[in-house]
């Protein structure tokens, strides 16, 4: 049995990971569960999966209740390093996923990575852990999973990566109405059901810029060989064009359980009757559009900043996280997200070849700047 720690177990990816693990009895031993909040849900999960370790926040009485179930509280860093853990499912959203990810990689664990902020913030550092034959990082996000699947068995003779984007809920909204969109509207993604941070990032296409950054670091492909194309149906999750002009695409109906399962079992593919099947005829046409830079200013802004290297992408990621929080709490409007990010971090003094703490410092600085700009 594969020993698994699920970090972010009460979020969308964490819950689906436990679903998949349950569909394959005898394959996985859930050794650790970690969640920032949702103590009620994590208690249920502890009762069901009986992990050795748990990491969560709660009152002394609440934690005592978990202890009675036979598991030991610990930090996420300790959990991922436990000798019986073979694979870490990193499903924590945002910056909070960074240090446990680095700890797991340093401990030589495989990390199934659903958190893209860790790679955005610390891509250079994380890239040092990657070897193509025994990957330390197994991407869980549908787009990098698609690229990873398309590269399987290939000799990295890549001409370009073509990452698809649904275009989010505002792809066809008149531009002049975008200033007024509410968090509720932005949270209504047309094809994917995900957590709030990633859903807002999908509406601004910040998420797509993050995927470009992730692909650059995880697959070692130069920036100018990564393209994004809008594909509203979210059936083709990404494509790889090889040097001979042959293109491979990975397709499926949008369901995160497939890339989760692929990462959990890699390199094995397992039959799972509960996953929806793609049917070319009933799925209708597959269409592609170019990305409109005026509609999605976050996209180019993020890439321009990320390409500067050093701690710039960490500042970007933290500023985005803070700006999205401000949008969700209705302190800033939808179109202010890129403006606030740009304004906040324009004076960043980067550290090149940063350590983990340089990265965290840059992120803390960027968050402060966002709050200063918005005038908290």
């Amino acid at each position: 049995m594969k020993g698994v720690a699920v970090l972010g177990s009460t979020g969308s990816i964490g819950r689906q990971t436990l679903d998949v693990a349950q569909s394959f009895p005898g394959e996985f031993r859930i050794l650790g569960l970690a969640a920032r909040s949702s103590l009620r849900l994590i208690s249920e999960q502890v009762r069901k999966f009986r992990p050795l370790l748990v990491s969560c926040q709660g009152s002394p009485e609440e934690i005592a209740g978990l202890l009675e179930l036979g598991c030991r509280p610990c930090s996420m860093e300790e959990m991922v390093c436990h000798p019986s853990v073979d694979l870490v499912m990193m499903a924590i959203v945002g910056e909070a996923g960074l240090m446990p990810t680095l700890a797991a990689l340093q401990a030589g664990k495989r990390v199934a990575l659903a958190n893209k902020e860790a790679v955005v913030m610390a891509g250079e550092l994380i890239a040092t852990y990657l070897q193509s034959d025994n990957p330390a990082i197994l991407p869980v996000d549908s787009e990098p999973s698609a690229i990873w699947q398309c590269l399987r068995g290939e000799d990295r003779e890549v001409a370009r990566l073509i990452i698809t984007a649904s275009g989010g809920p505002f792809r066809q909204r008149p531009l002049k109405e975008l200033a007024q969109v509410t968090p509720q509207e932005a949270l209504r993604h047309p094809t994917w059901n995900m957590g709030p941070k990633i859903t807002i990032d999908s509406a601004t296409l910040m998420n797509k810029a993050f995927e470009v950054i992730e692909a650059h670091w995880l697959f070692g492909v130069p920036w100018d060989k990564i393209e994004v194309v809008v594909h509203p149906q979210s059936i083709i999750h990404s494509m790889v064009e090889f040097v001979d002009g042959s293109v491979k695409a990975q397709m499926s109906l949008p369901d995160m359980r497939l890339p989760i399962q692929y990462a959990l079992f890699y390199p094995k593919r397992m039959k799972n009757g509960s996953l929806p099947r793609f049917d070319p005829i009933s799925s209708g046409s597959l269409s592609f559009e170019s990305l409109d830079p005026d509609r999605y200013p976050c996209f180019q802004l993020a890439l321009d900043i990320a390409m500067r290297g050093g701690t710039w992408p960490a500042a970007l990621s933290a500023a985005d996280e803070a700006a999205v929080e401000l949008f969700l709490s209705k302190r800033i409007g939808f179109l202010e997200i890129p403006l606030v990010i740009q304004q906040a971090i324009k004076g960043h003094q980067p550290v090149m070849n940063p350590s983990g703490s340089d990265i965290l410092n840059a992120a803390a600085w960027a968050r402060e700047q966002v709050n200063a700009v918005v005038g908290r």
Copy 2:
């Protein structure tokens, strides 16, 4: 340098093979050229590529002219067995490709196979030469090449193959007009520029049935796990659905030089600036339709016959070859092709587990029956 024999060098695939070889100086030594006719063209090819061996038909004077160029006439079977030949490009159309293909496989050569009749006729025999790690057959046809590329690096955890079909020139022609279509109209394929036999087979979808048969034998996938879907744009050349529901598709603009090059260089992919690149935005939508059995009666007829095994598919292939010739010479109409085939071979007495000569006998019998049915 890889030693290559090109059989069918004056046909569409043969000429494109030589084009590709010429684009990569120093990679290939063309050791043999074979063609049934087109002596003028094969003389030019001999002058350009200076092969050791040539196989063609001509007057004693014509053959003497080739001898003066320093090459030796021989049979195709002798050519494919020459010790310096590493790879045989089998680009002969129809039954004539069968015996040289079997000879090459018996001699332990790799065969880049553009001829699908050989696999249709002798699939069981040919399958005995296949090992997945060092394939003896490298498919050149775009659909099996697509499947082969999608299977690359995968552990054959296949749920189904989805072979795409353009639908041919008569996909939208009113059914009642099909009886009157001329060879000229049938030879105008909407997306591919190919030789006459395969173009007529594409109009009847006999060609697609042959690809199902080919996929069954080359990839070892059961009949009921191979589907055909009409995809008029011919961009997705085929798809593989794996047991986890993930689908891989191979895409490119329709150009046979890509699968030819892939087979010639396998497992390496080579940059070739003269191949067209797929651009998702300019290529428009990709659409899929189910196959209309009333429009394409050859398709199910062929599969029903092929699944009987033994010498049945050899009889089928030969009857089709004869029927297509009769259609091209305007002796029968377009809709008579399936009727003639069915009528001709219905009394076939099959040999199970057939040898090469059993297969040739069945084919000769079927041809005679076709001519008897049409009343030559």
